[in-house]
């Protein structure tokens, strides 16, 4: 069975051997690694062949070496991230890791669909995470080719040119379905929502959720992008609902249907691809609300993160990334 978790020493050996790696792990481990062809983001939560685990002793390694024709590494701030698509190779893909709660994350969340070349090349990645009991002590960080590059402000990218006989394929796994009786329209593109139109009537969303006893753990969904995508509610504070990814003005949204048993639904999921993905991520909210610790997700072994990048920022889903033969 393919191995995903490696010690610092094993990971360092792979780096010294010239492997092209995307890494996830505890900060104390990543900061021991030598310089080389790797990017990383912090997260101690992983979906492994042994099940979901929290592990601060090993690093989750996605080894993408075998399909690299050319490679470039680059860091981005909130302003330069607009070039992420045009900087990528024409026949390749970009893997992007963003630090959480940062200006660069906000820039990507709002701006990605407006970036030049949006969706013109595969862009996969995730938002770095952290131990939940450490939030006040440490924030998630990113790394680009060096332990010394640790940053809570810069996004890191690995631009890869693929061999002519390869292509990158991404899939978005969504465990939720929209309910059809409630349509929400947002009055502005935002991460903090007050008044909205619910079935055409102006209401305060926080009050509407409370008055109707709706479950704020369920995502807000839209199929406007011809693909069901989720936005998660972060918190409700007074009359304001904050969300983990922007809701867009002019796009009809639905609330998700209640899921009777999310852990079982995730356990029952069958990955249509018989081959495990080369990389990807699972949303922390899926991991926590789906009670994934100790449970296995069919054939998908990925880090657990604070946001998923599938061309744009999405929530409460699983992203798989695979290199395939044409």
């Amino acid at each position: 069975m393919k191995k995903y978790l490696y010690t610092v020493e094993e990971t360092a050996e792979m780096i010294k051997a010239g492997k092209k790696l995307v890494l996830a792990g505890d900060m104390a481990l990543l900061e021991q690694l030598p310089d080389g062809d790797w990017i990383a983001g912090t997260s101690p939560y992983f979906m492994t062949p042994e099940g979901g685990i929290v592990n601060t002793e090993k690093i989750f390694v996605s080894d993408l070496t075998s399909s690299v024709s050319e490679i470039q590494f680059k860091t981005y701030d909130a302003d330069s991230l607009k070039n992420i698509y045009i900087d990528g190779y024409e026949d390749g893909y970009t893997f992007l890791i963003i630090p959480p709660y940062s200006k660069v994350q906000e820039s990507f969340a709002f701006g990605a669909p407006e970036y030049e070349g949006f969706a013109s090349k595969p862009l996969c990645g995730w938002v770095a995470a952290h131990m939940f009991d450490q939030r006040q002590i440490e924030v998630g960080k990113t790394y680009c080719r060096s332990a010394k590059s640790a940053s809570a402000e810069l996004a890191v990218a690995m631009h890869v040119k693929l061999p002519a006989n390869k292509y990158a394929e991404m899939n978005l796994v969504n465990f939720y379905e929209p309910r059809e009786d409630i349509t929400i329209e947002f009055l502005e593109t935002s991460l903090a929502v007050k008044n909205v139109l619910v079935n055409g009537e102006k209401v305060n969303l926080a009050k509407y959720i409370a008055d109707n006893n709706l479950d704020p753990d369920l995502p807000i969904m839209t199929d406007a992008f011809s693909q069901l995508t989720n936005v998660s509610i972060h918190m409700i504070n007074g009359d304001t609902v904050t969300v983990f990814a922007p809701v867009f003005q002019g796009v009809p949204y639905k609330l998700a249907k209640p899921v009777e048993n999310l852990p079982q639904k995730m356990l029952d999921y069958k990955n249509p691809d018989p081959v495990s993905p080369d990389a990807g991520c699972m949303c922390m909210l899926c991991y926590l609300r789906g009670e994934q610790e100790g449970k296995k997700l069919d054939n998908i072994f990925v880090p657990v993160t604070l946001g998923e990048i599938c061309y744009q920022l999405v929530n409460q889903s699983v992203i798989t990334f695979s290199i395939k033969d044409i």
Partner: protein, 76 residues
């Protein structure tokens, strides 16, 4: 490959047809292109959105999911 001036690109952007597409890049992009064309933000037009959608498929026409979409689109 469907020609860039084929009306199908405009029909997709205007929502006249909503075929079951598989190519994820296009699926994500179509929503934003429709929205930008609808709002006309920064002078964005249906024509511009149609051109961008064509460009996404043109670049990836050799990929299995894009090729399947093109087959579906060519029959509409």
């Amino acid at each position: 490959m469907i020609a860039s001036n084929d009306p199908i690109w405009r029909r997709v952007i205007e929502g006249e047809v909503n075929p079951p597409l598989q190519f994820l890049a296009a699926k994500i992009a179509i929503g934003h292109l429709k929205l930008k064309a609808k709002t006309g933000k920064d002078g964005f037009t249906v024509e511009k959105a149609s051109e961008e959608l064509f460009a996404i498929y043109e670049k990836s026409a050799h990929l299995p999911s894009a090729a399947k979409d093109l087959e579906i689109l060519s029959k509409l």
